[in-house]
């Protein structure tokens, strides 16, 4: 009975043509990586530096693949069954929650196993080039990747058991992936070499990141080590953390798989206006803009589609945005104050770097969730047909939808402006840099928005649209950074600079002269890329919208 669920899940996954294309694409990519670096003149470096360089990139590539590709399947697994009603059927069988969970988990792990097995020929080629140890390098990297697959699959299943919609599950899962794998590196990066609770926290948190573990394994040094040597066993620490998370997450998810998962009453639609004055006052204090107040009619001067989009969102309604903006503003001002007060001696460039990284991370995380489902959500919910029967033109519909994304992004970008202003006040010479950074951020936001909307419009389902948009955007933001990590070896300065021109994060970091990026000149090439990319994406979005709207 256990194998029945696993078999069903796995065949459903593998039956998709996209999956086969993806797996074979990966194999080809890994193969090419080895072929490019394969010795062609009959001589082999005895130090094995060349194969280690390739293996380093190969490891990061595999890790990025697992982090970007894998979570979407467990994230949609339970919530999709819940929405379709098949979870109730499963719970009604003698299988029990443990077997249902294990069946699903095994199927996802089998998929991860397939990806890893497909990468074995390329790994063997690296090994054959010499310089790599079977146990010390290959085995440990694959062990790390298996742990990553286990941990993130369990977490995604847990998220899926709580999610009410498929796209929300995808959104939260990718947020978790980004948070656990990348954001956990932040505190260590800034506090390493210092003493105190913050440094301890940074040390503790980086144990959660698979990137830190992989860096220590492949000998790439610590993330932003700045010359500091660290001999911590990060793989061991990561293994303990990931196994702990996997066990807790599994028990938690299994405890969710019972009749209570459906035990949700329909919302009675409580309205604050009907409550007592004191409750109304408390809600206003708490929310600033109460989401449960009775909304006024849409003004004639406002695009109704934009208002509709705002009202339809759970995350994205005004009270959430105001909270987010407030956090951004406080954080940016706090960082700047810490520098001016002499609490931290990071320098203005580093503070600027943190703000840029945080803003871009926020934009990259939030934009696809707001923008990817603009068209697909309408199609999936059958709202598109209704919109077609109204006199609204396609251009007005698209503009209204894009406006509903532009406004939150503008608020987020504006929220950190006070931080930049203080920075310019401290260091007037940075005025031009700050101006360029702001342009970079604005262009990044526009690019992320239009690209996500365009990619999302190609899908009929919101979950696929959201996952697709996240995948493309994270690939554009993440893959060039992989090349950057291999700067000087195996990639030369020119290659890294050429690749980084496609990366909006790198461009902003190079402008603010963040350590590690200060030697690359990425402007205006990056602006051209973002501008042309945005234009092409907009055309794709318009064409796709026109295509699905015209009478058949």
């Amino acid at each position: 009975m256990l194998s029945a669920i696993t078999r069903r899940e796995l065949t459903t996954l593998l039956r998709r043509r996209r999956m086969m294309v993806l797996v074979f694409g990966l194999v080809t990519l890994f193969g090419l990586l080895v072929v490019i670096r394969w010795p062609s003149d009959g001589r082999v470096a005895l130090t094995g530096v060349r194969s280690q360089q390739v293996f380093q990139l190969f490891g990061y590539g595999l890790l990025a693949t697992l982090l970007l590709l894998l979570p979407v399947f467990p994230a949609t697994s339970i919530v999709r069954e819940k929405k379709r009603g098949t979870l109730a059927l499963l719970l009604n069988t003698p299988l029990g929650p443990w077997r249902i969970f294990t069946g699903k988990l095994l199927a996802i792990l089998a998929l991860a196993g397939i990806v890893l097995v497909m990468s074995l020929p390329a790994a063997s080629a690296c090994y054959a080039m010499g310089g790599l140890s079977l146990y010390g390098d290959l085995w440990k990297v694959y062990l790390l990747l298996m742990l990553v697959a286990l941990q993130y699959s369990v977490l995604a299943l847990l998220v899926s058991s709580y999610a009410q919609t498929i796209d929300a599950a995808v959104r939260v899962t990718y947020g978790l992936v980004l948070g656990l794998s990348v954001m956990t590196l932040g505190p260590h990066y800034f506090f390493q070499g210092t003493k105190g609770s913050l440094a301890d926290l940074g040390e503790l948190l980086r144990g959660l990141s698979p990137f830190a573990a992989l860096m220590s394994l492949t000998g790439a040094g610590d993330f932003g080590s700045q010359g500091l040597v660290n001999r911590t066993d990060l793989l061991g620490r990561f293994a303990i953390c990931s196994l702990l998370i996997a066990v807790v997450g599994s028990v938690w998810t299994i405890s969710r798989l019972n009749h209570r998962i459906f035990d949700l009453s329909r919302s009675a639609g409580a309205i604050s206006d009907d409550q007592t004055r004191s409750i109304q006052w408390i809600r206003r204090m708490f929310f600033l803009v109460d989401p449960q107040r009775r909304s006024k009619g849409i003004s004639s001067f406002i695009n109704p589609v934009m208002v509709k989009e705002f009202r339809c969102r759970r995350f994205g309604r005004l009270h959430w945005l105001l909270r987010l903006v407030a956090v951004c503003a406080v954080l940016s001002l706090g960082l700047t104050y810490a520098t001016t007060a002499g609490t931290l001696d990071w320098g203005v460039e580093t503070i600027g770097g943190i703000m840029v990284v945080m803003q871009v991370a926020l934009v990259v995380l939030i934009t696809p969730s707001l923008s990817a489902g603009l068209i697909s959500a309408e199609r999936e919910g059958r709202g598109w047909q209704l919109l077609q029967t109204t006199p609204l033109s396609i251009a007005r519909v698209i503009w209204g939808k894009l406006l509903s994304v532009i406004l939150p992004l503008m608020l987020i970008l504006c929220a950190t402006l006070p931080g930049y202003l203080v920075m310019v006040y401290i260091e007037p010479g940075m005025s031009l840099q700050v101006q360029r950074v702001v342009i970079c951020l604005v262009l990044t936001a526009i690019f992320a928005m239009v690209l996500s909307a365009a990619v999302g419009s190609l899908f009929a389902r919101t979950a696929a649209a959201t996952a697709g948009a996240y995948g493309v955007l994270l690939a554009i933001c993440g893959l060039p950074l992989l090349v950057w990590m291999g700067r000087d070896a195996p990639f030369g300065h020119d290659t890294v600079e050429a690749v980084l021109c496609f990366n909006p994060i790198a461009a902003a970091l190079s402008v603010i002269r963040m350590p590690g990026f200060q030697h690359y000149v990425l402007i205006p090439a990056n602006w051209w890329f973002l501008g042309i990319g945005s234009l092409i994406s907009l055309l794709v979005l318009l064409w796709q919208t026109y295509r699905i709207s015209r009478p058949q």
Partner: protein, 341 residues
């Protein structure tokens, strides 16, 4: 059976005119030379099995599909060329609700009112009016996705009434509704027709259509098979009429059946239902011949409480058109010679 149908507001002005409407998808013909007209204030019931071409017809009327040939006009406006004008003249309720997450009923109606360009003040007034008409006022603060199917259908109806269209096109409005919701929806449609709206309704629940429709069009395989009132269609389906005679006592059922057999065509169906003290028979005889049958029954000492013609059921009519068409050589013919209301 027909007492429910709205009367009084039906005019002779044709509102819906379809002429030789054809839609082809490659070699497949979804709609084949459909011609019919419908007058203002009438309710047209469009019935047919899945794939009959009902939804294709509807989508052409609301401008979502372009016909391969033929014309479709609503109140003199071409559905294909003037699709923008048509959007303001037609209220279309598809078979799926089209809900938006996190949106309250009033917000939902406000959005569609704004999409139709109704000014805010007028919109607020109009929303109150349609909510009152459809009985949805009490659910104005509820989230649309949390409503039951019946409630959603009524909200859907409110949505299409907002811009006060002349023609309402409803695809399966009673599908999936419980009996009470179905009755409420039926009453609502009758009320709307009484207000002068022209309605085109598709449904699989044929008794519902029998009760409310002035005209019924039966479609199979993209062709119009029958068009007319339910009575006209029933008469065309069967040249023979079903007559039912209720007796005072079940003891006389056999005797009555014998008299009837002697009075009508030899070999005709005569069914004795002793439990209901009824004799039912099918005949092609004229009214005066039936009068003679009644006289003979009375002269034979049979005590009769009722002697009446049983109307041919729409389901029966539908099946008689749908069944033969499954095979080849289907004969496309419009009952009554012309498909005009």
């Amino acid at each position: 059976m027909t007492a429910d149908r709205p009367s009084g507001s039906v005019s002779d002005t044709p509102v819906l005119v379809l002429e030789h409407l054809t839609k082809q998808y490659g070699a497949f013909t979804a709609l084949d030379d459909l011609t019919l007209t419908l007058n203002a204030g009438q309710i047209l019931g469009l019935i047919g099995p899945n794939g009959a071409g009902k939804t294709t017809t509807i989508k052409i009327l609301v401008g979502l599909i372009r016909p391969t040939s033929g014309t479709a006009m609503i109140a003199g406006v071409d559905c294909v060329r003037d699709s923008q004008k048509i959007k303001r003249m037609v209220g279309y309720m598809p078979d799926t609700f089209g809900s938006y997450d996190n949106m309250r009923v009033r917000e939902y109606l406000d959005f569609f009112g704004a999409a139709f360009g109704i000014a805010p003040r007028l919109r607020a007034k109009r929303i109150d009016e349609v909510m009152q008409l459809t009985g949805t006022t009490y659910m104005r603060d509820r989230f649309v996705e949390s409503l039951s199917h019946g409630m959603q259908q009524r909200v859907g109806l409110s949505r299409i009434l907002l811009h006060d269209p002349k023609v309402l096109i409803l695809d399966e409005p009673v599908n999936g509704l419980d009996p009470q919701a179905r009755i409420e929806m039926r009453d609502l449609l009758i009320q709307l027709a009484a207000q002068g709206k022209t309605l085109l309704v598709t449904s699989h629940i044929l008794p519902e259509l029998t009760r409310i429709c002035h005209r019924v069009a039966i479609m199979t395989h993209g062709k119009l098979r029958a068009f007319g009132t339910v009575e006209e269609i029933g008469r065309q389906v069967s040249q023979q009429r079903t007559i039912e005679s209720h007796l005072v006592s079940a003891d006389q059922v056999t005797a009555a059946a014998n008299i009837i057999r002697q009075s009508i065509e030899p070999g005709a169906d005569v069914v004795e239902v002793a439990a209901e003290a009824t004799v039912r028979f099918r005949t092609a005889r004229s009214e005066s011949d039936l009068g003679d049958v009644l006289t003979r029954l009375i002269q034979g000492g049979i005590r009769i409480t009722q002697f009446r013609e049983v109307q041919t059921d729409l389901e029966e009519a539908f099946m008689s058109f749908a069944r033969p068409k499954e095979g080849a050589g289907a004969k496309p013919a419009v009952v009554g010679g012309a498909a005009h209301a």
